[in-house]
């Protein structure tokens, strides 16, 4: 873009320039800004008072923390406890795998339903509704319900994780679909291809690379979640951890925890590697 302008040499002495300037602000005016700050401060103070947070509770806590640390170390486990850990881990890992696959399979149609550029309006709202409800609840809330309905064990855990996966996966996938290059789709349509072919040749190739990355990402997340749904009885190593803590078996507890951290890190490593290769 070119500008044409006159270059006249200015004599500064004749013009007076105001010396007052205020930086731009996102707030309507000064008063709204201070009002918002005041509100936030009041809310924080209210929270602190309501929760009865005080310095001496904190200090007492540090002492208790010290004591806890000494009881946790060194991490130990009898051979029976090792068996518990191994079986719990296998169950968690298996739960993560199964629920990721089932969750993705269910997410695929939901994602297409929830894409503004592909789905008709009523279908779009239904899809978005499913995603919102599924995303609203923490997996433990769903796990509790699942345990009540289906009994203790990994089935409840799988159901909870699948429910949780669908909201996450479908939302991100729908965003990818909405972000895709319409030009490529248009070009395929212009060749006279049928709607299914447009999907296969125009939409899917753009979306598939992301699907792989997204799937591994969610698998990694499900590995983490599968280790804790056991706390409400939905299978996996979570229950072992809870029991150890409830029984004050802290040295066993720390062992379990370290194993959980290890498996989480392995999952993360695999996830980073695959996502790095795919991109």
């Amino acid at each position: 873009m070119t500008e044409s302008e006159e270059h006249t040499v200015q004599t500064d002495g004749n013009k007076a320039y105001p010396g007052m300037w205020n930086p731009p602000s996102i707030y309507y005016n000064k008063y709204t800004k201070w009002a918002i700050y005041a509100l936030i401060s009041l809310f924080v103070i209210w929270s602190v008072l309501d929760l009865q947070i005080s310095l001496d509770r904190f200090i007492v806590g540090l002492g208790a923390g010290n004591k806890l640390l000494s009881e946790m170390l060194p991490p130990t486990a009898t051979s029976r406890q090792v068996d518990l850990i191994v079986s719990g881990l296998i169950e968690s890992f298996a739960m993560a795998n199964v629920s990721t696959v089932i969750g993705i399979l269910i997410s695929l149609p939901v994602a297409f339903m929830a894409s503004e550029n592909l789905a008709p309006k009523p279908v779009y709202y239904v899809g978005r509704g499913i995603i919102s409800v599924s995303r609203a609840f923490h997996e433990l809330v769903i796990a509790i319900i699942a345990v009540v309905a289906l009994g203790f064990g990994p089935l409840a855990g799988v159901v909870a994780l699948v429910f949780n996966t669908v909201g996450f996966y479908a939302k991100l996938l729908a965003e990818e679909i909405e972000d895709m290059d319409e030009g490529q789709v248009e070009a395929i349509r212009a060749t006279g291809a049928s709607p299914a072919q447009v999907l296969i040749y125009g939409v899917i190739p753009q979306v598939v690379p992301r699907i792989v990355g997204l799937s591994v990402y969610r698998w990694d997340i499900n590995i983490r979640k599968s280790t804790i749904v056991g706390i409400v009885g939905a299978g996996g190593i979570g229950i072992t951890l809870l029991n150890a803590f409830n029984r004050y078996d802290y040295d066993f507890g720390i062992t379990i925890l370290l194993v959980i951290v290890a498996i989480v890190m392995v999952g993360e490593g695999v996830s980073s590697y695959v996502r790095g290769r795919v991109n």
Partner: protein, 270 residues
């Protein structure tokens, strides 16, 4: 009066970007560094304010030896060196006014700058300068809403606000179309004469260099191969600078030394 003596830069990989380049810059002259890509023009300009650290040699600004200053003193010295960049390097999300005032950052306290409370005199000068570069109406526009030419003028305004003793310009017109480039160079020329400060420009558009410079320095592979006013520039000089030919060789001689083959390769590398 600013002196640059035997400036050299060798990169860790062994590449010798500058080899003993010297020059003196004074008054309100426009000095243009010209040469092929990769000749070391940008490196040279950036070594003057030590954005790139020279391997050896000295840079003296009005008696102050820039190259031997500590980090803290270097910061103070940089206030006296204004710089204009090829990609403008403005803070895109901030307004024009904030960018121009950022030229005064070396002079205000941390707290004042954080709260954007600049002295009135600075604000006045900012407005005066914006008016001068024709952007007073855009004072509160976000920089990313401006065109390339407008952005470069904001960059120049920022440099002026520093009240510098010299202005460095690293390919200030490479991202602009020919007409806008001329406007920017006109502006720099006026400022040099008004503020009575020299401007050192790294420029690869030869026609613009010949038109605007008071003095040319031709670099090839890190070495000075020509120094003189544009009136001394002719085809054989062009051959020396851009094709590494021996000085004085007539342009219609197509023969090339073995050496020039390397020099051409060096210049294509970038």
């Amino acid at each position: 009066m600013h002196k640059i003596t035997d400036l050299s830069k060798t990169y860790p990989g062994g590449e010798e970007a500058l080899k003993n380049v010297s020059t003196t810059i004074s008054g309100n002259e426009i000095v243009a560094m010209i040469g092929p890509s990769g000749a070391g023009k940008s490196t040279f300009v950036r070594c003057v304010n030590r954005l790139t650290e020279p391997t050896s040699g000295t840079v003296t600004l009005d008696g102050v030896e820039i190259t031997s200053l500590s980090k803290k003193d270097l910061r103070s010295a940089r206030r006296d060196i204004g710089m204009v960049f090829q990609e403008y390097n403005l803070i895109e999300r901030l307004t024009v006014m904030e960018n121009v005032l950022s030229g005064r950052l070396g002079y205000v306290s941390n707290l004042a700058a954080f709260r954007r409370k600049f002295p009135e005199e600075d604000v006045r000068q900012a407005r005066r300068t914006l008016d001068r570069v024709g952007l007073l109406d855009h004072e509160n526009d976000r920089v990313d809403e401006l065109s390339g030419g407008q952005r470069q003028r904001v960059g120049i305004a920022r440099a002026i606000l520093q009240n510098p003793k010299i202005i460095l310009a690293d390919e200030p017109t490479s991202s602009l179309d020919p007409e806008t480039s001329r406007n920017v160079l006109d502006l720099l020329t006026e400022i040099a004469s008004d503020q009575d400060i020299p401007v050192l420009i790294n420029i690869h558009e030869l026609d613009l260099a010949l038109e605007y410079a008071d003095r040319l320095i031709g670099l090839n592979s890190g070495e000075v191969v020509f120094k003189g006013p544009p009136s001394d520039f002719d085809e054989s000089v062009e051959g020396t600078i851009y094709r590494g030919e021996e000085p004085g060789r007539a342009a219609d001689s197509k023969g090339q030394d073995a050496g020039t083959g390397d020099q051409i390769l060096t210049s294509i590398r970038e």
